[in-house]
């Protein structure tokens, strides 16, 4: 929590006099302020300007917490804003009850080469085709415009090569913005920048970001976990919260990929550990038959579907 003197620039009412007053009660930081007994502070405020400032400060703090809404408002918000959008693959859509839901963080877990990046690319191409904007954070240089073109060409039954197709493909590719990130701090910068852009931007109907993909979040977080103390852990959880907050406030569907590590009995389990398990809303496990073109997906966790439901024979690797 920030010390009080660093807030002086932003909130000029916390000036030197106020800080001395606070120091006399052993309050040096925002945390101390919040923990202190406020009635006692008010009582000890000798001059009216100090008590006036205290009231102003409390109203600022009140304004910072998220608004309280009731269940009815939540349901209306869900109906109007939190749409379910198709991923482009019928098997996955059937499994998820329609597709990816805006406002939810969906995680794809699977061993190497099981199809996670393919699902991401397919969802990106489907969302972009339906005029949504897609942001793709790529940690492994695996974003492939070639593959997007293939998915776009596959679902519309046109032969590629004529002018109109190329123009529409160009438009689809324009809606997908790919950022290479190689560092967890770069990812945070990107997400904060996105937050600022989204809160300040006037919503344009077809430029609205609908899908955010992080492929893969585990390669960004594994280098910082378990290292120098709990910072890595804290960063991972705060990344999860930031993604969920972006999803909820701006009605974006967020898709992240994770890999597996060896568990105790030799079974593989998702990476990133126990604390990460509760962060995504929906977790899907992908596996691929050896060398086959078929991918099996099963639900590990979903707020509305039974876990263990599977869909197989999804041909992703054509």
């Amino acid at each position: 929590m920030a010390p009080l003197n660093s807030l002086e620039k932003e909130y000029p009412l916390i000036d030197a006099n106020f800080q001395t007053f606070c120091a006399s009660h052993a309050i040096y930081s925002v945390e101390d302020f919040l923990l202190h007994d406020l009635d006692a502070l008010f009582a000890s405020a000798s001059n009216p300007s100090t008590s006036h400032r205290l009231k102003q400060l409390l109203s600022i703090i009140d304004a910072l917490h998220p608004p309280l809404i009731n269940g009815l408002q939540l349901m209306e918000d869900a109906k109007q804003n939190k749409h379910v959008l198709s991923t482009g693959c019928e098997g996955i859509d059937a499994l998820l009850g329609g597709g990816l839901r805006a406002g939810q963080l969906t995680e794809l877990v699977g061993p190497s080469s099981s199809g996670k990046t393919q699902v991401c690319l397919m969802s990106a191409s489907t969302f972009a085709k339906h005029k949504g904007s897609v942001i793709y954070l790529d940690t492994g240089n695996s974003f492939s415009p070639q593959r997007i073109a293939h998915f776009v060409g596959q679902s519309s039954d046109c032969v590629s090569g004529n002018q109109a197709d190329r123009r529409s493909l160009q438009k689809v590719l324009d809606r997908i913005i790919c950022y290479p990130v190689f560092d967890v701090y770069e990812m945070f910068d990107m997400l904060h920048q996105l937050k600022i852009n989204l809160t300040s931007e006037i919503v344009k109907s077809d430029r609205h970001v609908q899908l955010l993909i992080v492929d893969s979040i585990s390669s960004l977080i594994t280098p910082i976990l378990r290292g120098n103390g709990p910072q890595g852990h804290a960063l991972m959880i705060s990344a999860g919260f930031l993604l969920k907050k972006l999803a909820h406030e701006h009605n974006i569907a967020v898709l992240v990929t994770n890999h597996v590590v060896g568990g105790e009995d030799g079974n593989s389990k998702p990476a990133l550990g126990e604390s990460w398990k509760s962060v995504p809303h929906v977790r899907l496990l992908l596996s691929r038959d050896c060398g086959g073109n078929v991918c099996n997906i099963s639900i590990i966790k979903h707020p509305a579907m039974a876990s263990g439901r599977t869909a197989s024979s999804i041909r992703l690797f054509v």
């Binding site: 061993p111 190497s112 080469s113 990046t117 393919q118 690319l121 940690t139 492994g140 240089n141 695996s142 974003f143 492939s144 415009p145 070639q146 593959r147 160009q170 590719l173 324009d174 809606r175 913005i177 790919c178 290479p180 190689f182 560092d183 893969s216 585990s218 390669s219 960004l220 594994t222 280098p223 910082i224 976990l225 378990r226 290292g227 890999h259 597996v260 590590v261 060896g262 030799g266 593989s268 990476a271 060398g291 073109n293 690797f317």
Partner: protein, 269 residues
Amino acid sequence: MFNEERFSSLITTSCVDLDNILGGGINCKEVTEIGGVPGIGKTQIGIQLAVNVQIPLEYGGLGGKAIYIDTEGSFMVERVLQIAEACIEDMSEYSHHFHKDNQAYGVKMHPNSILENIFYFRVCSYTEQIALVNYLDKFVTEHKDVKIIIIDSVTFHFRQDFDDMALRTRLLGEMSLKLMKLARNFCLAVVMLNQVTTKHIEGSFQLTLALGDSWSHSCTNRIILYWNGNERHAYIDKSPSLKSASAPYSVTSRGIRNSTSSSKRIKMV
């Protein structure tokens, strides 16, 4: 809003079948992992790529330089000379065939110049390896025409007596992210050669690439080399844009070539 156009820069492997399944060759801007049992030709492929990246633009190559990071000591200079000479011979043969009518393009390359353009680093411990990867950023900024980095083999120093597995996972994760960043920012290909180990799956032992599951996610593409009877085959195990396929190749005195084809001409794309 920017649109990603695929400017493909591909480095040929000198084997037509292998190039075909790779979509033309090894991609720049991507990290490719090549793994296989000892003796199957990983170092040979590494050396072949280090020579092929220098093929000048007129012959369909990239005209770039190569960085070779050797952890095992398997880089034999005599072999590189052999492969370089064979490459130049093939290039002059090509120019003979296709430019018969025009004046012959003299091949202005000499095997020694090919050797000069390979920057060789020998690392003897994992700390050296990590320090080198950190240093490469500065090195490539100074030598902008480096187009490929070959690490042979990336797993060697991380396998024996590493007590702290968590530390190993972290270090490997960081190293792979740095290599990805290098590949992306400087538009070069990174090729990592890996060894195999046995894994106990469902009651049977299977060969898998070393360094574990977390490492298997640190590359963009993965090619596995294996023996099929008496022939060497390459199989694409992981790729975001290529189909799974396998192709035969062979290791000859001239380098990596097709296995059944008798023609020694390199197909220039």
